[in-house]
């Protein structure tokens, strides 16, 4: 499995992804699931991937090759005039890769599927956040649904629904994502640290902050243990049921 969240804030975009991949519970590995393309001062584009690792690696390599030799290929991520066009390129490339893998060799429903979160900003328009389906079509976030999750989405969703606020700082948003990831990691073995974190400040056209959070990160440890205690304290403060 996988867990990735992309979040649209008034201040910009925040992305977090885990790094665990597994082929069965007895075959786990660590792979990066967050990738960025940028032209400093002009555009920053980040994608996060969930699903079949061969598919997502093929997608990232294809996008990357095309962005390096744009003359010979389709429009690249670095030349697309809008984030909508970026999402279209990613969706078409993804559909093409899944189709190629499905047409040749073994057939297995959904085996080669992948789902992608794309966020970024191109100079001249606002930051935008999309989720791309294996079919190549996609949806965009909005005020009503300002974040997307892919992979193991359920355990970490209640806290996102309840504590998200579009005016959050990057520091608060990182805390929120760590709480959401920690709940997921505690419940599903196929999601695990290290976590990749990226914050993009609106109109900066460069990455404000990116880092990898490992198991021994003191802040992660304090959130992981502190959140359990904070939850218990919050729970104790609620009035008990009265028979």
């Amino acid at each position: 499995m996988t867990y990735c969240v992309g979040m649209l804030l008034n201040k910009g975009l925040v992305f977090m992804s885990d790094t665990r991949t597994n082929a069965g519970i007895d075959n786990i590995s660590t792979f990066k699931k967050m990738f960025t393309w940028s032209v400093p001062g002009e555009r920053v584009i980040t994608i996060m991937t969930a699903g079949n690792l061969a598919t997502t690696q093929a997608l990232v390599s294809t996008l990357d090759e095309r962005s390096k030799a744009p003359d010979q290929r389709k429009p690249s991520l670095l030349e697309a005039p809008s984030m909508f066009q970026v999402a279209t390129i990613v969706g078409e490339t993804l559909r093409e890769i899944i189709k190629n893998q499905k047409d040749e060799g073994q057939q297995a429903s959904s085996t080669f599927n992948a789902t992608i979160i794309i966020g970024g900003q191109i100079n001249g328009s606002e930051p935008r956040l999309f989720m791309v389906y294996p079919e190549g079509n996609f949806i965009e976030s909005s005020e009503d649904t300002p974040f997307f999750q892919v992979g193991e989405t359920k355990y970490g969703k209640p806290i996102l629904l309840r504590a998200y606020n579009p005016d959050m700082s990057f520091e608060e948003a990182t805390k929120l994502l760590l709480v959401s990831f920690d709940s997921t990691i505690k419940a599903n073995l196929s999601v695990d640290l290290p976590l990749d974190l990226q914050c993009y400040e609106k109109n900066s056209f460069e990455l404000k902050y990116q880092t990898r959070i490992t198991k021994d990160n003191p802040y992660y440890q304090s959130v992981s243990s502190g959140w359990g205690n904070a939850l218990k304290a919050a729970f104790d403060e609620l009035e008990d049921f009265n028979f």
Copy 2:
């Protein structure tokens, strides 16, 4: 979908189940999923059902008919000498019903499946809690895993993992279950109120408390709104990330 939780406490057993059933998102109904058989002073047995409604209704009706005319049938729930035997009867009956439905007419993988939580106490032994699979086999709760969930289990699990305590009172346990159900109801349309609640006090051999909690229940409303605020307060108290 469905959401049911059975919980083993030092004081006894607590059960909560929702009542929403659906055949597609455009066809929802309300059905009870919690059923009790008892011999006052001697045994109390509660089961909660998740899965195909025709299967679970057939299971409950079959168990009920057999308990009313035990002479002509297999050992009934009211005569089984132990909770282990009760779980065995339920598992065998369930497997038989699923097999009958599968053998005749249309074939569809897992369509007729159901999963059951059984808890109760028979005089002479401790309260016990089981989860029965569609295959008819079952597992028993233990100190390490003192509760079982069936149906939409993920949204409501983090708070159970973090706030459960075997020494809880029934009042606290009810509060915990309501928080867990509220998170699930807020995230999955196929789980909804009214909720059925039952508390069984160890060695009492009668139901201490049972009720139905509806949408307009003031305590449910206070938990539902209060928990959102308590979560936000707990979240705010955690130290922010520092870039």
